[in-house]
């Protein structure tokens, strides 16, 4: 299916002997916002980190099964190339403190030593910061270091940094859990705009956020993908009782 951008088939992941992701089979379509939710320790973040092959950087971490970007198995591809094609935004905003805002946005190019025309770079910086709804706030301080930015602004800078690479997919690992409500709102409005050009997969601890921003939601429980459906359906009439229990707050 040309429209399926990320898919997995019986995908498993371990931390040493700890089996944290069990036989996950899923198909994610292009230009959608997918929320991934579940209680702590359910494997949702681990699965996310397998998509861009960050999981294997931890000593003792292993995987099994197929995980594809379009038709290519991510685990057969060059991992550096995979991470270039799939961007990630983390829980705590992590702009590079030794780089200016400008350099942060183009960090994916600069740190790789890719020589580009200044005009092109300027273009990329403006486009990415605009898409991240940050351009207006920083356009006069592009060459300052980003330490004066608020948490929400720093996170949007990280989003701009990911966007600048023009990835196929952007992964978000609990992107607003470290932010205050206003910053959270500003980031959430971005998701809706970003999906025109990207596919977003967002791991969230916050059910209400999943309901607010996503087209489809996946529910993980104890390492398994329990249910994956249209968000509306998930929250009004879920098929699995475990999903039902989670949504009604039986466990979190």
């Amino acid at each position: 299916m040309a429209n399926t951008v990320v898919s997995s088939s019986k995908f498993n992941a371990w931390f040493g002997d700890n089996h944290v992701v069990k036989d996950v089979t899923i198909g994610i379509e292009k230009n959608q916002v997918i929320a991934v939710m579940g209680p702590s320790g359910c494997g949702k973040t681990t699965f996310l980190r397998c998509i861009n092959r960050m999981h294997e950087l931890i000593p003792g971490a292993t995987t099994k099964g197929s995980l594809k970007l379009y038709d290519d198995d991510v685990y057969q591809m060059n991992p550096i190339y995979v991470r270039y094609k799939i961007g990630m935004v983390f829980q705590r905003p992590n702009p590079f403190p030794n780089l200016s805002i400008y350099d942060n946005v183009i960090a994916g190019y600069k740190l790789n030593g890719l020589k580009m025309q200044k005009a092109d770079l300027d273009n990329i910086v403006q486009k990415s910061l605009t898409s991240a709804a940050l351009w207006g706030e920083v356009k006069d301080s592009l060459h300052k270091k980003g330490t004066f930015l608020s948490g929400g602004q720093q996170q949007r800078l990280c989003i701009a940094r990911a966007i600048a690479m023009e990835p196929e997919v952007i992964l978000f690992d609990e992107p607003t859990s470290a932010l205050d409500p206003i910053s959270t709102a500003s980031v959430e409005t971005l998701f809706h705009e970003l999906k025109t050009n990207f596919t977003l997969i967002i791991v969230t601890h916050n059910m209400q956020q999943a309901a607010r921003v996503s087209d489809k939601t996946a529910f993980f429980y104890m390492g398994e993908l329990v249910e994956f459906d249209e968000t509306k359906t998930m929250f009004t009439s879920p098929s699995d009782s475990r999903t039902q229990n989670y949504i009604t707050g039986r466990f979190s």
Binding site: M54, P59, I80, G108, N112, M165
Partner: protein, 280 residues
């Protein structure tokens, strides 16, 4: 009851006074030494002193140019060897904390830190002087070995303080590991690493023992690294123990110069850590 408390309070105040006394009185010897060196040494320093080599015993005049140039060359060579190896080893230790190699090489760093400098000197005698003769380079290698533990530990500790999120951010952009380390991690730890390097230089610039049987000394200004070369601490040692007053004067001047170098380097380190510390 009140009397008991009174006694206990008095004891406490007494104790504090004793502690303050002992803590501050120990600065007096240092101040005495510094003032004495400065007083005796500053008189010796003039352009002639800095640009001429020592004259034979009995004659007046002369300077420490050979020692100045020699120290510069020797320390430069040591740094060229010790800084890359030290930084890379420090990076390895901070990036691979659980491995067997990290454990044993970390142990070796601790061992090297404790080895007396004269022992390093005699080993270098057999490793380098025996094959190629007394030379500045043999002294430099001895000093480089002494620099290594300081550079390694400060690199390691600086990098361990950096959050993992920095590495993750870079890796997730498709940046390869070596660029993540060299272009993100090391620059973010720059202040700490640099101050470690400067401290290690300040340490070896005054070291005499390793040079006693390696670089030896040289009454002439030489830039030949394969031959003996004079250095500031070695000159001080030779002339301090000589019976000639003129040579004592040279030693005072050299001590003053050496002391100023060491002080400046230490002050510089403090300024760096304060000014260039990257806010994380």
């Amino acid at each position: 009851m009140d009397a008991r408390i009174g006694i206990r309070n008095t004891k406490s105040i007494l104790f504090k006074s004793v502690i303050i006394f002992f803590a501050f009185i120990i600065t007096i010897p240092l101040i005495i030494v510094l003032l004495y060196i400065i007083e005796k040494g500053v008189m010796q320093v003039n352009w002639h002193f800095l640009s001429h080599v020592p004259v034979p015993e009995g004659e007046t005049g002369g300077g420490i140019a050979n020692a100045l140039v020699g120290s510069l060359i020797i320390v430069l060579m040591s740094s060229i060897v010790a800084i890359p190896i030290g930084m890379l080893a420090g990076i390895y230790l901070s990036e691979n904390p659980g491995t067997k190699l990290a454990y044993y090489s970390g142990l070796c760093v601790d061992i090297l830190q404790g080895v007396p400098s004269i022992v390093v000197g005699i080993v270098m005698y057999f490793w380098i002087v025996k094959p190629i003769g007394f030379s500045a380079i043999s002294g430099s290698i001895a000093l480089a070995i002494m620099m290594l533990p300081i550079v390694i530990r400060s690199t390691e500790q600086t990098l361990l303080l950096l959050p993992d999120s920095l590495k993750e951010a870079a890796l997730s952009l498709g940046v390869p590991y070596h660029r993540v380390i060299l272009k993100v991690i090391v620059p973010c730890g720059f202040a700490g690493i640099l101050s470690g390097i400067i401290l290690s230089i300040a340490r070896i610039i005054g070291e005499t023992a390793p040079l006693l049987f390696t670089a030896l000394g040289n009454n002439y200004l030489s830039t030949n690294i394969l031959k003996p070369m004079e250095s500031l601490p070695h000159l001080i040692y030779t002339y301090a123990t000589s019976p000639y007053e003129d040579q004592h004067d040279l030693a005072w001047g050299a001590s003053f110069i050496l002391l100023m170098f060491v002080l400046l380097l230490n002050i510089f380190t403090k300024l760096i850590t304060r000014k260039w510390q990257i806010q994380l």
